[in-house]
Amino acid sequence: MNPGIPLYLWCALAASTTVQIGVHWDIAWHRSIGRDTFWSPPHLAIYLAAVLAAVAAASQILGATFRRSSPVRAHAVQVLGFRGPLGAFITAWGGITMLASAPFDDWWHNAYGLDVKILSPPHVVLAIGILCIHLGAAIFVLGARNRADGELRRRLTLLFLYVQGMIVMALLTMFMEKTIRIFMHRASFYAYVSALVPLVFCAAGRASGRRWAATLTALFYSAFLLGLLWILPLFPAQPKLGPVLFPVTQFIPPEFPLLLIVPALVMDLLWSRTPDWSRGQKAVASGIVFATVFFIAQWPFATFLMSPAARNYFFGAMYFDFNTPVASSYAHGLFLPYEVSAAAFVAGAARVGALGMASAWVGLAWGDWMRRIRR
């Protein structure tokens, strides 16, 4: 541990990491074991993240609010009468929202049944809470970074980009059902990714001002996901819930990471060559570059992922949920049919490009604001 980085920041970063581990552990649990309780280990990991977030936030807010002499006061903001760094409040808000989603989710299960889908109202409440844990951690780190300089500033910048990688994870996980590989030859897949990812890359680039910000963000995302992909299947798991349609003997990990690293590299190159462009120009260029390069990289890679050559430990295309019908296109390595006509393809491409540009613009504006954060 570096003495220059305060403990509460490590705590916030641990919350950001733990929540992603917990969420993916939980998803793997549902895909392999199927049955869980309110107190299952993955759920505990998720709640632990909320507690870590609360501890990080409270350590700053309590002192700043109740001790006049607290050094935190100088860089505190005021929320509902409390004082503390902005990141602490966002982190606390995320933690409380996550904990609030727990009884709601439990009730939802009792009323409407188990986790049949990721996108249910209580899960969206949880996802918003999780996003705010990440966002709070990012702003926590950024506030400290923007007040620091030298080696500490450099390290905090790297940690900020790590949290951006976690934000990419969190956003794509929310739409996991819509972005698995059977969709990868469809415009809808590229639309989801182009709407979500350029925002984070652009925000990371602008807020950090660092070279290769998007590439580092994509690296953190890819490394984390590869870790899950390669570690989770090492643990045995057996379905405890029928109908079992596919034999499963170990935890089912997430799919191979999207090739976001490729458009990230090109975006970083673009930004390094165009320092004087306006936000609008950058947004248009970044959006188009992301959408195009990602499409060019991911489309053939998806074809590879569907092939028998990808059904191995490294690429992990041989893992299927216990309730994957053997006759499904997913199990057969077939894409869902893509856009039927040229007109539909052009319309889809236009949509993807527009979403990419809009996402980039929001990300740039957001990043510009974040760069100014001092508290």
Binding site: Q78, L80, T97, N110, Y112, V326, R374
Partner: protein
């Protein structure tokens, strides 16, 4: 002639009081033909061990079923339970089995909780191990959504308060972000920042309100989407017409109120040789009961000439079984005028007993018109009936000479048929010695069971092959648990020689 449909008061008929059926009948559903009595009772042999299995299906799907296994004759070492779909690939790869735990103080009784993940036709595979080796038994269970749940007031208020706090907190955070976040440490916000902060808070309040309202709409959509999966029983309309011969013809029409697309009215299959088993029960006394088998004209339309029934109000309970295995009970009320009777024909039966209200307590014996008697065995006052507890209802048929009858023969393939009807008519169950699963459903399961595990009921009660006239034992037993406390009428029907007889009992359930 006027017919009115039976519209129970909400108090008399809670939301859960619907017959079980499936929302997603992908490969056909199994249900027991009952009203207000969703539990499954099944008597069968797992290898050498006779078992009585009770399954209380979950009310929401996915949900938890409670399974109770009784081995009255044996000390079993191990009982494991695993639910699988009845057919299809899910029947081939069972999930990890649950070990049922022995009940404290009752070595013959095991229980477990089982998850049912999807709606439809399921089976619970029971595996037992004991001193005489291992055995297996499969019990068909319908897993169907019976209701939607509303939120408890306390939880709702708590979550609403939390939501208000979170909304207020987020508005304040947005305000602080705009006002203070970019200030160098120690600086104070100026008037312009404060104004911008107020604008931002107003915008945040509007956006959050829109988000909360949007979320509420989404929640409502999800809830109503689930609500459409909740089982809706078939509607039954009844009308009567007096013919030139003075005999009443009862006409019945089944209509689908809209539920699963897979439910049809033109796919009924015979159960004990009949497409419909109709119980005609005089109400409120429940002192006259006819068990008739109307003939189907067009799909969903049935007719029957009525036997001599005293005029008055009658509750009709019509049992039918679909080709998918789904069994349903439709009900209505009809008012019968005074008329001549057509007399029971074939398997039809008519009986008269005492008014239910006159039997405030459990009755033990019923005197037959021919001088014989049916005696309800066991269940003495030291062991009162309890709601929800599976009990063997044992009856012995005695002849006019006072000795146990030697001429009991199968009646529609069974040693006997019993109907359990609660005094407020919120519960109706048609039970056989093998339990609550209709014979037509069992036949469908045996023909389509890909699991390799037999769903055979106890051999002694085995169904349709038994139209032979070989005499059966004088004792007939039915496994059942009255679902709630109150006064029940039990109508037991059996055959002596060629004569179908009907015995009436009352049961007080605590």
């Amino acid at each position: 002639m006027r017919a009115r449909s039976f519209k129970p008061r909400p108090a008399a008929l809670p939301a859960a009081l619907v017959l079980i059926a499936t929302a997603l009948l992908v490969d056909g559903g199994v249900a027991s033909a009952h009203l207000g009595s969703p539990d499954v009772f099944f008597e069968g042999n797992a290898g050498p061990y006779p078992l009585l299995v009770t399954i209380r299906p979950p009310e929401v799907i996915p949900g938890v079923a409670v399974v109770d296994v009784q081995a009255p004759d044996d000390q079993l070492g191990l009982v494991t339970l695993v639910p699988t779909p009845l057919r299809g690939p899910g029947a081939v790869l069972p999930p990890t089995a649950d070990v049922a735990h022995a009940e404290v103080g009752d070595p013959h009784r095991f229980s477990a909780k089982l998850w049912f993940m999807a709606s439809g036709s399921w089976q619970v595979r029971v595996h037992v191990d004991g001193p005489r080796g291992a055995g297996d038994l499969a019990v068909p269970v319908p897993a169907l959504a019976l209701r939607t749940k509303t939120m408890q007031r306390g939880l709702g208020l708590g979550l609403a308060a939390l939501l208000a706090f979170l909304v207020a907190g987020m508005i304040s955070i947005v305000g602080a972000s705009v006002r203070d976040a970019a200030l160098e440490p120690g600086q104070q916000a100026d008037g312009q920042r404060r104004r911008r902060s107020r604008v931002a808070q107003t915008v945040a309040a509007a956006v959050l309100t829109a988000l909360v309202l949007g979320g509420a709409t989404w929640w409502g959509d999800e809830a109503s989407g689930y609500g459409q999966n909740v089982y809706k029983p078939l509607a039954l309309q009844a009308s009567t017409a007096v013919g030139g011969d003075g005999v009443i013809t009862l006409s019945l029409t089944l209509t689908d109120p809209g539920w699963a697309k897979s439910r049809r009215l033109d796919d009924l299959v015979p159960d004990h040789d009949h497409l419909m088993h109709l119980y005609v029960v005089r109400v409120p006394a429940m002192d006259v009961v006819a068990h008739l088998h109307p003939d189907q004209g067009q799909p969903g339309k049935f007719q029957r000439a009525l036997p001599a029934l005293p005029p008055g109000d009658y509750q009709l309970f019509a049992d039918i079984v679909h080709q998918t295995g789904l069994a349903e009970t439709a009900t209505t009320i009809v008012t019968l005028p005074a008329a001549k009777g057509g007399g029971p024909i074939g398997d039809d039966a008519l009986g008269t007993g005492r008014a239910l209200a006159a039997d405030a307590a459990t009755t033990r014996a019923f005197r037959m018109p021919d001088g014989g008697q049916v005696v309800w065995l066991g269940g003495d006052s030291a062991d009162p009936l309890r709601a929800g507890r599976t009990t063997w209802f044992r009856f012995r048929v005695d002849g006019a000479d006072g000795k146990p009858a030697t001429d009991v023969t199968p009646y529609m393939g069974m040693a006997g048929h019993a109907a359990f009807i609660k005094d407020d008519r919120s519960v109706f169950a048609h039970i056989h010695p093998s339990g609550s699963v209709s014979m037509a459903t069992l036949a469908l399961i045996e023909s389509g069971n890909g699991s390799g595990v037999s769903a055979d009921p106890h051999a002694a009660h085995k169904g349709h092959a038994g139209h032979h006239a070989a005499a059966l034992p004088p004792e007939i037993a039915f496994p059942y648990a009255c679902p709630k406390p109150g006064l029940y009428r039990i109508v037991v029907q059996f055959k002596r020689g060629d004569v179908i007889q009907t015995a009436f009992f009352s049961a007080r359930v605590d």
